[in-house]
C-alpha cells in the first residue's frame, strides 16, 4: 500500500452562532465534529453523505479555507493547521480543489488563459507570460480542450467545458491531491461520465490522489478505492468501496444504498428506509447521532456515543451492532418504508 499523503485526525470545524446586540456566541453549528480520514498517494477516497452533513466543510477545512477549531491535517507528514499562512502557501500548490458549480467557480471577467494561469503565476511556475500561455495550451489539451478556447470567457463555454477549465486550473500548479467537491454533480449525466473518465485518466498519468466529495453513490462506486460515509459531522462508516456497496455495516449506509435509485426492477422499493429529517447540527442528539432515524435503535444507542468499531469484513463502522461485546439481540423486523 502506498504512503499516506493526507492524514486528517479529529478534525473539528464549528461555526459560532451569534445572537443579540453584543453578538454573543450562543451555540455552535457542529459542521465537522471529529473526522478522521486518510488519503494515500494515487488513491481515490470518496466522502459521501446527505447535504448538510459537513462533507464540503471537511474539504474546505483541509485546504484551510475554513479555520478548524481542533484536530490535525497532516499533508506529507506536516500539520497544516499548525502552519502560519506564509508556510501554508507552499502546501496550497500541492493540493487543489475543483468546485461543484463550474459557472460560479470561474471569474466571469477573466479569459480562459488567465483563469488557468492564475495559480502558475502566484507560484511562479512556467516562467514568463509566453511560456505560461504555452503551458496553458498543453493543459487544455490534457483536459481535451484546444487552443481555440484560450481567449474565451467562461460564459462562452458549455458546462462540461467550464468544468474542464476548473480541472485544468487545479492541475496547472502540479498538485498531488485534488479535492473534488461535488465536481460532477451539476453536470448532465453524459457529461458526468466524460469528466469522470477524464479524472480517471489524469489520475493514472499524473499519479494524483483524489478526495471525492459527493452525494452521488453511483459516481463513488465507479471511481473510489475507499469510501467514507459522513453523517452529522462525523464519519459513520468507512472501508473499501466494494465492501461498502456489497455489505454495508452501518444502518445509515444501508439506508443510503437502499434509497439510491436503481435500474434493477427487483430492488425498486427500499426495504430499510432512513426515517425523517436530519437533526440540527447545532444540537446533535445525545448518544449515537443517528439513533433518531435509525430503524435498529436500541437502548444503548440513546445513552452512549459509539466509537468506530472494526468490521469483520474490513473497514470500520460507528455502530454498536459491530461491538464484539454487545450481546446479540433479537432481530427487529424491518419497518415498512
Amino acid at each position: 500500500m502506498s504512503a499516506a499523503l493526507l492524514e486528517v485526525e479529529g478534525l473539528r470545524t464549528w461555526f459560532p452562532v451569534r445572537q443579540g446586540l453584543r453578538r454573543r456566541v450562543v451555540g455552535h453549528i457542529r459542521a465537522v465534529d471529529g473526522v478522521d480520514l486518510t488519503v494515500r498517494v494515487g488513491q481515490t477516497v470518496a466522502l459521501v453523505g446527505e447535504s448538510g452533513c459537513g462533507k464540503t466543510t471537511v474539504g474546505r477545512s483541509i485546504l484551510r479555507l475554513e479555520q478548524p477549531q481542533a484536530g490535525s491535517v497532516r499533508f506529507d507528514g506536516v500539520d497544516l493547521l499548525a502552519q502560519p499562512s506564509r508556510e501554508l502557501r507552499q502546501f496550497r500548490q500541492r493540493m487543489q480543489i475543483v468546485f461543484q458549480d463550474p459557472m460560479a467557480s470561474l471569474n466571469p471577467r477573466m479569459r480562459v488563459r488567465d483563469l488557468v494561469a492564475e495559480g502558475m503565476r502566484s507560484f511562479g511556475i512556467g516562467g514568463g507570460p509566453r511560456r505560461r500561455t504555452e503551458r496553458v495550451v498543453e493543459l487544455l489539451q490534457r483536459v481535451q480542450l484546444d487552443a481555440d478556447h484560450l481567449w474565451r470567457y467562461p460564459h462562452e463555454l458549455s458546462g462540461g467545458q467550464r468544468q474542464r477549465i476548473g480541472i485544468a486550473r487545479a492541475l496547472a500548479v502540479e498538485p498531488e491531491l485534488v479535492i473534488c467537491d461535488e465536481a460532477v454533480s451539476a453536470l448532465d449525466v453524459s457529461i458526468q461520465a466524460q469528466i469522470l473518465n477524464l479524472l480517471g485518466e489524469l489520475q493514472r498519468e499524473l499519479n494524483l490522489a483524489y478526495l471525492f466529495i459527493t452525494h452521488d453513490l453511483s459516481v463513488v462506486r465507479y471511481l473510489a478505492d475507499e469510501v467514507a460515509v459522513m453523517y452529522l459531522g462525523q464519519i459513520v462508516e468507512r472501508g473499501p468501496t466494494r465492501r461498502i456497496f456489497e455489505a454495508p455495516a452501518h444502518p445509515y449506509t444501508q439506508g443510503l444504498l437502499a434509497a439510491a435509485p436503481s435500474v434493477d426492477p427487483q430492488r425498486r422499493h427500499c426495504a430499510l428506509g432512513v426515517l425523517g429529517d436530519v437533526p440540527s447540527p447545532a444540537a446533535p442528539p445525545p448518544g449515537c447521532r443517528f439513533h433518531t432515524r435509525c430503524p435498529k435503535t436500541f437502548d444503548r444507542c440513546r445513552r452512549e456515543k459509539p466509537p468506530l468499531y472494526d468490521c469483520a469484513s474490513g473497514g470500520q463502522s460507528r455502530c454498536f451492532l459491530e461491538d464484539p461485546s454487545q450481546p446479540p439481540r433479537p432481530a427487529v423486523s424491518p419497518r415498512e418504508g
Binding site: R92, Q96, R109, S122
Partner: protein, 342 residues
C-alpha cells in the same frame, strides 16, 4: 498666477492621453465595449448631448492671456480668458438687465452696447446670460466629476476592504457609515462648507464626505457576496494574494455598480450644489447661483424670467441626458440581462 496654464495642460492631457487610453482600455475588454455599443444604440441622442456639454466645459477650461477683445478695461487685459469668453467678446457688459434679443435696456429702454446681441438677455450686472450659462457647464461638470473622483475611490476603498476583511474593520466602517447616514445630509453639508470655507474644491470635498455612504454600502454588500463565491475561494486555494484577489476578482465584478452609481451620483451632486447656492454657500459662477438670484427677479414686475430659464434649461438638459444614460447603463450592465445576451 499661472493656474490657467495648469488647467490648459490638464485639458490637453485629458484630451490627448486620457481619452485615447480610456478608449483603448474599453475596446480591449469585450464586456465593456459591448456595453458601450449597446449604450450608443439605445441612447445616441443623450450621449451626444453629454458630449456637447463636455465640449463646452473643455473649451471653457482652455484659456490664455491677451489677444483680441483684450484691454477693454484694465483688468481683463491681464486675465486669462477661455475660448468661451473670447466667443462672447462682441457681447460686452451692459449696465443692467435687458431682455433676450432686446435693443434697449429693460428699465428705461436706453440703447444697449450690443443691441440684439444678447440671445438670452443680461442679468442684473449686465452680464450676458448665455455666456454665464455656458460658463456654468464647466462648474457643474467640475462639481459632479471632482466630487465623484473623491467619493468613488473612498467608498470603494472602505466598502471593499470592510466587506472582504470583515471583523473589526467592517465594524468600524459600518459604524462610521451609519453615523454619517444618521445626520441630515444638508446640515452636514452646510457645516462642512462653513468649516472648510467657500470655493469649488471645498464644496466638492463637502459633497464628497456626505455622499460616499450609498456606494460604500453597496460595495460592501456586493463584496460580502463575492468573497464567498467559488472563484474567490479557488483563488485563495491557488495561493493568490489578497491584494490581487481584490483587484482581479472583486473590483472588476463591482465595476458595473460603480458606473451606474457614478452616473446617478453625478446628477444628484449637481442638484445638491443648487441647494447650496440657494443657501448662499455655493460655487461661484454655477447655475445654482443664477437660480438663487432669480428669487428676487421672479418677484419683479415685469418679471425677469430669462436668467432662471437659461440656467434651469441648461441643468435640465444635462441631468436628463445623464439620467437617461444612467438608466440605460443600469439595464445593460444588470448581470441578469448580461447573462441573457451572453
Amino acid at each position: 498666477m499661472e493656474s490657467h496654464i495648469l488647467a490648459n495642460l490638464l485639458v490637453l492631457a485629458l484630451l490627448f492621453v486620457g481619452a485615447p487610453l480610456a478608449f483603448l482600455l474599453l475596446r480591449r475588454n469585450r464586456m465593456w465595449s459591448e456595453a458601450l455599443g449597446e449604450l450608443w444604440r439605445r441612447r445616441r441622442f443623450s450621449l451626444l448631448v453629454i458630449a456637447l456639454y463636455v465640449a463646452v466645459a473643455l473649451l471653457d477650461s482652455f484659456s490664455w492671456v491677451g489677444g483680441a477683445g483684450a484691454g477693454e478695461d484694465s483688468l481683463s487685459a491681464h486675465e486669462a480668458r477661455s475660448v468661451i469668453d473670447r466667443a462672447f467678446a462682441d457681447t460686452p457688459r451692459e449696465s443692467s438687465y435687458s431682455a433676450p434679443l432686446a435693443r434697449g435696456s429693460f428699465y428705461g429702454d436706453e440703447p444697449l452696447r450690443a443691441p440684439g446681441g444678447h440671445w438670452f438677455g443680461t442679468d442684473i450686472l449686465g452680464r450676458d446670460v448665455l455666456h454665464r450659462t455656458l460658463k456654468g457647464v464647466r462648474v457643474a461638470l467640475l462639481i459632479g466629476g471632482f466630487t465623484s473622483a473623491i467619493t468613488i475611490p473612498l467608498a470603494l476603498l472602505l466598502g471593499v476592504t470592510a466587506g472582504y476583511f470583515g471583523r473589526r474593520l467592517d465594524d468600524i466602517v459600518f459604524f462610521v457609515m451609519s453615523t454619517l447616514a444618521s445626520i441630515p445630509s444638508l446640515l452636514l453639508l452646510i457645516a462642512l462648507v462653513i468649516v472648510l470655507g467657500r470655493g469649488t474644491w471645498q464644496v466638492c470635498v463637502a459633497l464628497g464626505i456626505t455622499s460616499w455612504v450609498g456606494l460604500c454600502r453597496v460595495a460592501r454588500g456586493e463584496t460580502l457576496k463575492l468573497r464567498e463565491l467559488d472563484y474567490v475561494q479557488a483563488a485563495l486555494a491557488l495561493g493568490t494574494s489578497h491584494l490581487r484577489i481584490l483587484f482581479r476578482h472583486i473590483l472588476p465584478n463591482l465595476m458595473h455598480l460603480v458606473i451606474v452609481t457614478f452616473v446617478l451620483l453625478f446628477s444628484s451632486l449637481v442638484l445638491s450644489e443648487t441647494i447650496l447656492a440657494y443657501l448662499g454657500i455655493g460655487v461661484d459662477g454655477s447655475w445654482g447661483q443664477m437660480i438663487d438670484q432669480a428669487r428676487n427677479e421672479l418677484s419683479r414686475d415685469p418679471i425677469i424670467w430669462w436668467n432662471i430659464t437659461a440656467a434651469g434649461a441648461a441643468m435640465f438638459g444635462l441631468l436628463l441626458a445623464v439620467n437617461y444614460v444612467g438608466d440605460a447603463l443600469r439595464d445593460i450592465l444588470d448581470p441578469r440581462t448580461l447573462r441573457e445576451r451572453a
